[in-house]
């Protein structure tokens, strides 16, 4: 061997490297495997490495003595500098930079070099080399390591220098010792600790080499990547942890885990060959993990519940604290369950920990769900449905798919890339779960993606749309909520428009309950819409989904009138007093057939009567009792004279009614009042509309109103007379057109009367609205008092 002169920095550097490779702390001989790894890390072609080996005499000696090692390192530097490898070059080449090894290691070496030049205590490069597994003290590991060593040795024919791989359980403080100067005694520990991983490591290299059928000693080593990894391991703690972990994993598998079998251990050993990332899981490892996963959860796409995972990992006999930490790291989506990827990561971490590697503070990239999937797509199974979602007890994927787009726009994009998708799904599983559940709740209807109450709009068309939306969404939540909203909403909504649209909430409720009915009957829908509006004039509207095209205005107006009827009927039904000023004009209309054409007076008077709260009751009986119309007409006629009185009476009736209902229930009163107001309001507009619109159209809505009123008929007693009046009015109105031909003047007069009734109704409406507001205020105050009293009840 030629003399080798090394600079101080080189000396230090080489010593460190030697110590690094000197697993057996022989201080003389360096493990070939490690040296090979180191050389591989130098990123030199194999032949160069061979040449170096030859030159330094290692091949001759069969081992790397310190001198040989140093020479080799020098030659590496020479080679890296581009100089031809010559024995003489060792000393001839001046100012040779320190040999560079794998990037990671190079960095450390560079640091090392600089540190050497500056600080001889820079052991950082080696700190992470091989953190002696703390758990090395386990005898079991030792035994297993022996086993591993033996196979290795047997398999290792390329590394004659396979030192006795005494599974020296490196001292627990090895990582720290490593950090200290390797040359120190602690370094010895490190070396010993290295011996542990070293032997294992070389077996890995051997195994890989064997698998790779490497020929040359060097080539026999595991593929460069692993070796480089190894070197990089040296540079970074995790890498070393992986090294030790793998052996430990083997040990763990065999010892700690009852499942471990010889083949499995071998697999693991082979698997433990490190890749670029120390935390990477090899295929074999992954396969093992997957098998373990299957034992717990047959469905690879499913979750392992936390309790089962806890049981499983408790078997590893790791302290609970560490298991808890491992869980924190591996449960990426924080859902309390482990998907296949999460499980593999957790398993990997347990193995690492068992081998003495410190748990990282955060999950290594290679263990992150998506990366794992990337690496091991084969094992992970189908990507699209994966990430445990398909099998997860959480929402079924199908439900997710339709709902997801609506709920999560990014889903389609994620699906495009399986890994991303998986990652996303895993990471967001928890969040997704909620959304998915929500989506599940709603019928898998793409249109009903968003199902929450939508503020009811004032415009009738929108109301229709909303109703349609509600109906379409059909979701339970929307339907129940919207009607509820409607009902609970402010009663004192705009009356003019809303009232016309408003109807008794009862109708709306019914309508909602049977969405189909809504669609089937546009009028009903309109009424429902109106109801909604009435009840929740400004309350959040029903459902967001694109509502059906709004009803045509004309029909809407008609429907409004129809709604009025309904509202009247409903309100009357609900009202105990049931005296809501209803569109006076409405009831009489439906009665045209029967209503003899008494006259314009009656309609007008009837309207006036109708303005009173009794309209609804009048409307109710009108329809079925056409005959009554004649009576009512007479009555109406008689009442016409007393129109004003009636109005006053009606008002008073309304008030008492309201007051009476107050004690009963402020809410109910409010509602009823609102309804009353709605009805009155509706009636007013209806009347107005009636007055303005052709007589023909009004009768129809009136009829319908009567029908709706019929529903409420049983609830109202007082209404009979009033309805009769209304009927009379209505009858008179319809009769007008018939008499057109007879008397235009009569028509005009009826028109005037209608207008008058409209104005009367409008006045009444406003008054009722004010009453409604008052009642609402009372209700609010009562509610406040109630709430105030409640806490005390709890105490």
């Amino acid at each position: 061997m030629e003399g080798l002169t090394l600079s101080d920095a080189e000396q230090k550097y080489y010593s460190d490297l030697f110590s690094y490779c000197d697993i057996e702390s022989t201080k003389k001989v360096v493990v070939n495997g490690r040296v090979l790894e180191l050389f591989r890390a130098a990123q030199l072609p194999n032949d160069v490495v061979l040449q170096i080996m030859e030159l330094c005499g290692a091949t001759r000696l069969g081992y790397f003595g310190r001198s040989q090692f140093y020479i080799a390192l020098k030659l590496v530097a020479v080679a890296q500098s581009g100089f031809p490898l010559r024995v003489e070059s060792i000393n001839t080449v001046k100012d040779l930079p320190l040999p560079r090894f794998v990037a990671s290691k190079n960095e450390q070496e560079a640091r090392h070099a600089t540190s050497y030049s500056s600080d001889s205590e820079n052991q950082g490069s080696y700190s992470g080399v091989i953190p002696p597994p703390p758990g090395r003290g386990q005898v079991k590991k030792g035994s297993v390591s022996h086993d591993t060593v033996q196979p290795r040795t047997s398999a290792d024919q390329q590394e004659p220098t396979s030192p006795v791989v005494s599974p020296q359980q490196s001292p627990p403080t090895s990582p720290h010792t490593w950090r200290k100067h390797n040359r120190h005694s602690s370094g010895g520990n490190n070396e010993r600790s290295l011996a542990g991983p070293g032997p294992f490591w070389s077996p890995f290299g051997e195994a890989q080499s064997g698998s790779s059928a490497g020929d040359a000693v060097w080539s026999g080593h595991s593929p460069p990547p692993p070796q480089e990894n190894w070197v990089s391991f040296a540079d970074t703690p995790p890498t070393s942890t992986l090294l030790t972990m793998h052996p430990a994993s083997v040990q763990d598998q065999t010892t700690v885990r009852t499942v471990a079998s010889a083949t499995t251990a071998n697999e693991i050993r082979r698997q433990s060959s490190s890749y670029d990332d120390p935390w990477k899981i090899t295929d074999e490892q992954r396969q093992y993990y997957v098998n373990q996963f299957k034992t717990i959860q047959p469905d690879l796409n499913g979750f392992i519940p936390g309790s089962a995972a806890k049981e499983f990992f408790t078997k590893s006999k790791l302290p609970i604290l560490e298991l808890s930490h491992i869980w924190e790291l591996s449960d990426f989506d924080k859902d309390g369950a482990l998907t296949l990827d999460e499980f593999c990561a957790a398993f990997h971490l347990v193995v690492a920990r068992k081998n003495g590697y410190d748990l990282p503070e955060k999950l290594p990239e290679s263990l992150m769900p998506k990366l794992i999937d990337l690496e091991d797509s084969a094992d992970v199974g189908d990507q699209p449905g994966e990430v445990g979602y398909s099998g997860s007890p959480a929402e079924a994927p199908p439900s997710k798919s339709p709902s997801m787009p609506s709920l999560n726009q990014t889903w389609p994009e994620l699906n495009q890339s399986s890994e991303q998708w998986e990652t996303f799904s895993e990471r967001s599983s928890s969040s997704q779960t909620l959304t998915q559940f929500d989506s599940n709740i709603a019928p898998a209807d793409p249109d009903t993606a968003i199902v929450h109450p939508v503020p009811i709009r004032m415009t009738p068309s929108k109301i229709h749309m909303q109703e349609m939306e509600l109906k379409r969404t059909g979701s339970d939540h929307t339907n129940p909520t919207s009607p509820l909203l409607v009902k609970s909403s402010d009663l004192s909504e705009e009356n003019k428009i809303n009232s016309s649209v408003k109807f008794a909430s009862g109708n709306t409720v019914d309508g909602y309950s049977s969405s189909d009915s809504f669609t089937s009957d546009p009028e009903q829908i309109g009424s429902n819409v109106t109801r909604q509006r009435s009840h929740s004039g400004t309350s959040p509207d029903n459902t967001a989904p694109p509502p059906p095209p709004p009803r045509p205005q004309p029909s809407h107006s008609r429907s409004s009138s129809l709604d009025m009827n309904r509202s009247f009927t409903v309100t009357t039904g609900q009202q105990q007093a049931g005296v809501v000023a209803q569109p006076p004009a409405v009831p009489p209309r439906p009665q045209p057939s029967q209503a003899p054409g008494p006259t314009v007076h009656r309609p007008v008077d009837a309207d006036g009567l109708m303005t009173h709260t009794s309209t609804s009751p009048q409307q109710i009986p009108e329809q079925p009792n056409f005959a009554d119309f004649s009576q009512f007409e007479v009555f109406a006629a008689s009442n016409v004279n007393e129109e004003q009185d009636d109005e006053a009476e009606k008002h008073s009736e309304v008030l008492p009614v309201e007051k009476a209902s107050d004690p009963a229930s402020s809410l109910r009163v409010a509602k009823t009042d609102s309804k009353i107001e709605e009805k009155t309001a509706a009636s007013v507009p209806a009347n107005v509309s009636k007055g303005t619109t052709p007589l023909a159209p009004p009768p129809k809505p009136v009829r319908r109103r009567l029908k709706s009123e019929d529903e409420l008929r049983p609830d109202v007693d007082e209404h009979t007379q009033k309805t009769g009046v209304l009927a009379a009015v209505l009858a008179s109105q319809p009769s007008i057109p018939r008499s057109i031909g007879k008397d235009k003047k009569a028509i005009q007069a009826s028109i005037r009367r209608n207008k008058e009734t409209n104005t009367v109704l409008a006045r009444l409406n406003s008054e009722l609205q004010q009453q409604l507001k008052d009642v609402l205020e009372e209700r609010i105050s009562l509610e406040v008092q109630l709430e105030q009293l409640r806490p005390f009840s709890h105490l």
């Binding site: 519940p305 936390g306 609970i320 930490h325 869980w327 924080k334 309390g336 409640r790």
Partner: protein
């Protein structure tokens, strides 16, 4: 003092009645004459109470800050809870949790 604050929290919970999820229950009133600190209470859905004692020496923390801190605390706590190895009632030893809390404290201070 923490126990007294807990009593106050319990009292508040009882009075709240329906609104159990009091996201932010600022109880600034607990200022001892000598202690000069503020105690913030926060109750979760599961009646788990977070009590935060803040020294009033530093500029009074804004309400939003306190609320955000509680929110983060709540999130971290739920993450800890998800761990099957964690027994409810034990002292939380989660490193992530501790680091989050520490970072939060540092951020405030």
């Amino acid at each position: 003092m923490v126990h007294t604050s807990l009593d106050v929290v319990d009292e508040k919970i009882s009075t709240m009645g329906k609104a159990l999820v009091d996201q932010r229950e600022l109880y600034l009133g607990l200022l001892y004459p000598t202690e000069d600190y503020k105690v913030y209470g926060y109750v979760t859905n599961s009646k788990v109470k977070f009590v935060m004692v803040v020294d009033s020496s530093n500029t009074a923390l804004r309400d939003n800050e306190i609320r955000s801190m509680f929110r983060k605390l709540h999130n971290s706590y739920t993450d800890v809870m998800c761990n099957p190895f964690y027994n409810p009632g034990d002292r939380i030893q989660s490193r992530a949790f501790d680091s989050m809390v520490t970072s939060m404290m540092i951020q405030v201070c």
